[in-house]
């Protein structure tokens, strides 16, 4: 067993109610271990996709080159890497190579020769990386994407259609340097490729960002981890989403295994990694005191072994979700604390997103109202981190009532950071979770 799953729900439903809401807390075992030495399945391939357009000229491109070289030099000898640079087209700087001392040495010269110039067509870099990753079907395939500008040298939609090809081929974390890039563009790449988008204020931050990405990629122990959900005949998943550490919609990405079984890809996991998922299942309403199993979750994944990657399924009988219909309102009226918590976190995220979009369009009244609502919710749920981020964009006059004023002096980087982090959630703290949690 590599995964532990805990379910939180109020299984008691009022008569006639068809929807079962629940949170699943999934944790990879601490001893799932990094990929075993000499695993025939092939270890990690780390791909760098970096912007070399004209705007990168100077300190930025030099920092990127140093950062790529730093990260490569830290790679374990069993890992593989490649480097792609793009402007209006893609350039193969270092083809896929094992991270041996000799190959690292050769790569250093190639990386050093990168010069900035040209336009920005992000889909070309993604396409070349995809072709390289396709040659390593058995590895954990992780990319690092870096840009500093708008995607202005290609038709809108080029990235989206390329992402459809990339999905499932590799995972990608994205960084934007400075503030001249579009949050939406970079976030779309990260989200489709199961990664995170972040802002690096200046060139000096690139090195540590890449070092972190390298460490994160090397820690992955289990790959192609899928959340598998069985539901009874006649039931359907209204939605399935990841809700922690970030909110990610999974419903539309479901892979239909059989009429009753769907799988949701969650990518590679590190040992000890923990994520929360929220499910809403619609079942056929039952009679009083009737009980049905509404969902049977399990985790399907590939684990490295001496003979390669082998597929496992960890069933989680303790995390089965039930529906019990009752006429007793005192049982059915309670909302599970975890479900309520994440419902609130999602409202907070959409208030921030809506507020920031309105702010960008210059709709000050709408922006003030939505960001005020966000401040109120962040304050009420004791989310200090989000309260702090919000206060960089609005002056908080009264947090408990959500009275705010848009800050005229808000820095662009802070506004971008707020947008990027709006879908990051915090977990329900233990104390609050235990406080009168309905034991079901």
């Amino acid at each position: 067993m590599s995964f532990k799953v805990e379910a939180f729900q109020n299984r008691f439903l009022p008569l006639g109610q068809a929807r079962v809401d629940a949170i699943l807390q999934v944790t990879a075992a601490a001893d799932a271990g990094p990929v075993a030495v000499g695993a025939a399945g092939g270890p990690l391939v780390l791909g760098f996709i970096v912007d070399k357009s004209g705007s990168m000229n100077g300190e930025r491109i030099e920092s990127v080159k140093r950062a790529v070289w730093q990260a490569v030099s830290l790679l374990d000898e069993r890992s593989w890497f490649f480097v792609v640079a793009f402007d209006a087209t893609a350039h193969l700087i270092v083809r896929e190579s094992q991270a041996t001392a000799a190959n690292k040495h050769a790569a250093a010269a190639a990386i050093g020769s990168i010069g900035a110039g040209g336009g920005t067509a992000m889909s070309t870099g993604l396409e070349l990386a995809r072709q390289l990753f396709t040659r390593a079907p058995d590895a954990i395939r992780q990319a690092v994407f870096l840009t500093d500008g708008k995607n202005e040298s290609e038709a809108p939609g080029a990235v989206r259609s390329e992402l459809q090809h990339c999905e499932g081929t590799f995972q990608c974390d994205c960084w934007g340097v400075g503030t001249d890039w579009q949050v939406g563009e970079v976030q779309e790449i990260a989200r489709e490729l199961l990664g995170k988008a972040s802002l690096i204020p200046g060139p000096e931050g690139i090195e540590s960002a890449f070092r972190g990405a390298m460490a994160k990629a090397s820690s992955k122990a289990l790959k192609d981890v899928r959340l598998r959900i069985w539901t009874p005949v006649g039931a359907e998943a209204v939605f399935v989403k990841q809700v922690n550490p970030t909110i990610e919609e999974l419903t539309a990405k479901a892979k239909v295994i059989s009429p009753q079984v769907r799988e949701y890809m969650t990518g590679a996991w590190a040992a000890g990694e923990s994520r929360d998922f929220q499910l809403a299942i619609k079942v056929k309403p039952g009679a009083a005191d009737e009980e049905v199993l509404a969902a049977r979750p399990s985790l399907v994944y590939l684990q490295a072994s001496a003979t390669g990657w082998t597929e496992h399924e960890d069933k989680a009988p303790e995390a089965r979700l039930f529906a019990n219909w009752t006429g007793d309102d005192s049982l059915s009226s309670r909302i599970d604390h975890h479900v309520a918590h994440y419902t609130g976190q999602e409202e907070l995220a959409s208030a921030i997103q809506g507020g920031m979009e309105a702010r960008e369009r210059g709709q000050e009244a709408a922006a003030t109202q939505l960001l005020g609502k966000a401040v109120k919710m962040a304050h009420a749920s004791n989310n200090l981190e989000m309260t702090q981020r919000l206060s960089k964009v609005v002056d908080v006059l009264d947090a408990s009532n959500g009275t705010v004023r848009l800050r005229k002096d808000a820095k662009k980087a802070e506004a971008m950071n707020l947008q990027l982090e709006s879908r990051t959630t915090m977990r329900l703290r233990r104390v609050e979770a235990q406080k009168g949690d309905p034991k079901t």
């Binding site: 539901t231 009874p232 006649g234 005191d289 199993l293 005192s330 034991k439």
Partner: protein
Amino acid sequence: MTVRCPAGHESIEHDYCSVCGIAVGGGAPALLIAPGSPSLTACPACGEARSGVDTRFCEVCRYDFTGKVPPAPLPNARGLVAAPAPAPVPPRPRALVLVVQVDPTLDVEPDPGTPPPEGLGDVRVPVTRPELLVGRKDDVRDVHPDIALADPGSSRRHAKFVAMPDGSLVLHDLASTNGTKLNGVDVVAGSRTALHIGDEVTLGRWTRIKVEGAS
């Protein structure tokens, strides 16, 4: 190996049906004797003994031992509420035995999907404990009756046989969904009724329990 769920589906899962999700309940042998759980405290609302330290609700009046919910009224599916006190019975020096049988002729609405188990002889359960719970075993809900039935018509906690200090035996219906009959007559839901040698208790779709004296 598949099992058949009460709705008649072939289920590849043995806990809940892999088609419709209702409890399969089968899988275990038709009758088996499991160790009973000791009674710990009494229900403050109706005086019924709490059936286990982790039990949340009183078996009879659904009082919540965690104190969060006021006691709900006694279920009165068949129109009656109060549980009459057990009638005094003469001391019974002889030890009693409950004889549990599968009787397909009791099954008034036979369902080809869930036929009565065949080839099970009588199971004799000596009354050696203060209480014997009768019902459908359910590992998930942690219901392990002393007399575990694979009868889909029985409730998980269907009834109890209570040995009184004076040696008499009392049938205590636990407000079961489909009810309990004593000598062919429905007993009041939730009631306690004194039993005598020769009495026959029937419940579920095909279960008969006879009261006999130990030979």
